[in-house]
Amino acid sequence: MALLLRTVARQGLCSSRLQLAVLYRHAVPMGTTAKEEMDKFWNKNTRLNRPVSPHISIYQWSVPMMLSISHRGTGVALSSGISAFALAALVLPESYPHYLDLIHSMSFGPQFLAFSKFALAFPVAFHTFNGIRHLLWDLGKGFKIPEVYRSGYIVIALTVLTSIGLAAM
């Protein structure tokens, strides 16, 4: 069982309470960086062709987990979309209004258009709101588990409402 007590020593705040029954007399800083150790791990395990233990296939999914991977998923999707758009701008011969008129001439139903706007707005809204949630964590706020869930639900609610609002515009 890993016992992790994060302690930061600050000058002048020394207290003499003993946390663990361990006395460190000879503590030596490690000579390797975390990156070096990670590389060693992967090199050794790929060289020995070891299989990876089941992890995401067996661990029970939770809402924070799903929000986290969705944040990454929407990020990758949005980035790919922007790159595709930029590439198209470089490669396609006609101008943007030309292609927009092409889409308009295809006379899609209003529900389909509204749904398309919703589908575009949703990942942007989610990534934005969850991004704010991440920034709050970076400030050190909202790490208690109930808070993590609460902020997660707020992100979902705001995302849905914003996407509906934007689709209606």
Binding site: T7, A9, Q11, S16, R17, I82, S83, L87, T128
Partner: protein, 158 residues
């Protein structure tokens, strides 16, 4: 098994100032909690992260992290700007901010999932190429076409 010990206790026993200002992760250690003998003389290896530790002195990673957060906040501010002031300055700033935010974000994804020296190098090179083309394309669009802000407005107008 990793255990962190309150440095204050360690200080009490007179350890060098090197460890005083650090958060330490103590490496695997078999800890025997013995009622009869509460004190064990154990040699431990620790990750010390004080700024005066000359091991790998670079602040590059830390600065990168801070840069990512600042860029994210800047991007948040750009969104209302793009809506209320759809001018070329905002178009180009948006192009730069979006591309860089995406570049750094995808960089983190690669760091997480790509392993092996040559694979990492190739993946990062590919990413750099993609981001460069993306930025070039967006700038081209801003210059020769309607620009990002106007493009979104037009898309939403129908």
């Amino acid at each position: 098994m990793a255990a962190l010990v309150r440095i204050s206790y360690v200080c009490h026993r007179g350890v060098s100032p090197l460890l005083f200002r650090s958060s330490s992760l103590i490496r695997p250690l078999a800890v025997q909690k013995d009622r009869d003998c509460p004190y064990h003389l154990i040699s431990a290896k620790i990750h010390a992260t004080p700024s005066n530790y000359a091991g790998s002195g670079s602040k590059a990673a830390s600065l990168h992290w801070t840069g990512e957060r600042i860029l994210s906040i800047a991007l948040l501010g750009l969104a209302p700007m793009a809506y209320f002031y759809p001018v070329p300055a905002v178009d180009y700033t948006l192009a730069a901010a979006l591309t860089l935010h995406g570049h750094w974000g995808l960089g983190q994804v690669l760091t997480d999932y790509v392993h092996g020296d040559s694979k990492i190098k190739m993946a990062n090179a590919g990413l750099f190429l993609l981001s460069s083309v993306t930025f070039a394309g967006l700038c081209y669009f801003n210059y020769h076409d309607v620009g990002i802000c106007k493009a979104v407005a037009l898309l939403w107008s129908k």
